[in-house]
């Protein structure tokens, strides 16, 4: 097992490097720069950093004005604030004219932990995915986070990138190349195809190990771009597997599972889709691992649910 890292740390370091390479990259934060890790960028490039304070809407609208003037702003807050508080200015001022503002939602999902429901973002993918022109990226480990941080700078329009504060193992080696819109098969298998995103990718790999002991071979697909979805990857999996599964640290309404379902609904004779995640509920205070257990998002519980669902 490699060392465990939180994706937000990989992001902070990558943004610092990106800042050195690209003088047009600026960062904005809303009084969370130590948590979001933009503190590194702030210390290195104080003239290209703005902490607007506790006013997320002001932050994203300010970023839109900067983007319209030729800069590439990275806006930072917790996932629930940057997508929830700011939905309207993101929609009108960023998504509608397709300005290249990068919205970075940190501490996403249940694994935000003890702060409870107010801070646990389980609807952010849903909110951002519904916006025309918006790209939604959700990397699985530090290597992919680093590459995605660079890749989204080159994307000509708006991007929402979802990050976490939960330690995950390194899943990719140096040869990996992240591409916006491309899903990656992490493990081959013909019985069941499991789509996962973000923190759940490592959990699903654990589940696949457990399933293999029962001679169930699972294909594990990392969907690090939820929009635009890699339709070909979904179609290919649907053509072979007996069961499709989506796993996300997000509501099963509107997130990865919904995105997969939208594609699957257009495929004749597609296998059943099992959507695992948070079932139309708010979160609550607790330790990250306790919450994952409660919502059946550990490797063991994911494997159990898949075994039960298999025909």
């Amino acid at each position: 097992m490699s060392k465990m890292t939180e994706t937000r740390f990989a992001y902070g370091e990558a943004l610092l490097e990106l800042g050195a390479q690209r003088p047009t990259v600026v960062a904005l934060d809303a009084d969370l720069y130590k948590s979001t890790r933009t503190v590194l960028f702030r210390d290195a490039y104080p003239n290209r950093f703005v902490d607007v304070g506790i006013s997320e809407s002001d932050m994203v609208s300010t970023a839109a004005g900067m983007a319209a003037t030729g800069l590439i702003p990275y806006c930072n807050s917790f996932a629930i604030f940057i997508t929830g508080v700011c939905y309207m200015p993101i929609r009108t001022q960023i998504a509608y004219p397709s300005l290249p503002v990068k919205l970075i939602g940190s501490s996403a999902g249940l694994t935000q932990g003890p702060d409870g429901a107010s801070h646990q973002s389980l609807e952010d993918i849903s909110l951002m995915r519904g916006l025309p022109n918006m790209v939604v990226v959700s990397p699985a480990d530090d290597v992919e986070t680093r590459q995605a941080t660079f890749a989204i700078a080159d994307w000509p329009g708006p991007v929402y990138m979802r990050l976490g504060r939960y330690p995950v193992p390194r899943l990719f080696d140096g040869g990996y190349h992240f591409t916006i819109g491309k899903a990656t098969t992490m493990r081959e298998g013909g019985d069941v195809a499991i789509f996962a995103t973000g923190h759940t990718v490592c959990k699903v790999l654990d589940a696949a190990d457990l399933l293999a002991r029962d001679h169930i071979e699972a294909q594990v697909i990392n969907v690090s771009t939820i929009k635009p979805l890699d339709h070909e990857a979904v179609q290919a999996a649907a053509a072979r597997a007996q069961l499709l599964v989506s796993v996300e640290e997000h509501s099963i309404i509107g997130g990865l599972g919904s995105a997969i379902a939208e594609t699957v609904s257009g495929i004749a004779h597609a296998p059943r889709l099992l959507r695992l995640g948070v079932h139309d509920q708010f979160g609550e205070s607790g330790l990250a691992d306790e919450l994952l257990e409660k919502h059946r998002l550990t490797g063991k519980l994911i494997a159990e649910d898949i075994r039960q669902a298999l025909p």
């Binding site: 600026v26 003239n47 290209r48 703005v50 607007v52 304070g53 006013s55 809407s57 002001d58 932050m59 609208s61 300010t62 970023a63 839109a64 004005g65 900067m66 983007a67 319209a68 003037t69 030729g70 800069l71 702003p73 309207m88 200015p89 929609r91 009108t92 001022q93 509608y96 004219p97 397709s98």
Partner: protein, 283 residues
Amino acid sequence: MITEAELARLRHLAATMRWRIVTMMGASKVHHFGGSLSSVDIITALYFRKMRYDPNNPRWLERDRFVMSKGHSVPAQYTALAMLGVFPVEELSTLKRLGSRLQGHPAMHTIPGLEACTGALGEGLSYANGIALAGRILGLSYRVYCLIGDGELQEGQVWEAAMTAAKHCLANVTAIIDRNRLKAMDEAACSKQMDPLPERWASFGWAVAEIDGHDMAAICNTLDWSDGQSQPSLIIANTVKGKGVSFLEGQAGFHNAAIDETQYQKAVRELESALAAQGENVR
């Protein structure tokens, strides 16, 4: 100091703007008459005198920017841009029609000359601050003007932006409040305590001036005054909603409404007389 001849030219342009706005809107169609007409004199002074702006190159990096935060008044901005030649005047008649580049609220990606997408109120001043901060980072020395409705001040984000501009001493930001005192349903003051406006903005760290928003000399002189401030500046322009058409003036009912054919003919007659009177002065 602005000359009488220059003032006469601007007043004639403002009268032309009003005539064009009402004729582009026409009879029997729902339009934002009130707020478009109240902002005309301010927009005339900005586009036809104050701003460094090249109609042949509306994306010129050094240009002064105008952000229409009260997006429903964009017909006035469309009219100014068309009269400057940024797009054909004939296109004004397509306003809000299916397939038109002239959307009901500003869509910067559909027509040249618009600096922002607005329409959801309260977001424009933050955006203007972003343009100003970008200018600082990129070493560009333009000014940014942002027109805000007084009803729009009820949106909390305006005050977030006011604090940000003051903190960063954005002296190249001038916000103008089109204070026609009416919002969509009734008076702004019916819903929230609006006074004292000048004192509030001053206490937020802004240089504040208050003028008659239809007095062209006052508008021009106050815009010149804002150039010399070392902090962001706010101009409270007291205006009349529906200014220039007798039966539209001061009526919340014409915020977004249609006028019938008889009313339309009367409005055009009034605006043509006003235009003729201004034309005499220009000559």
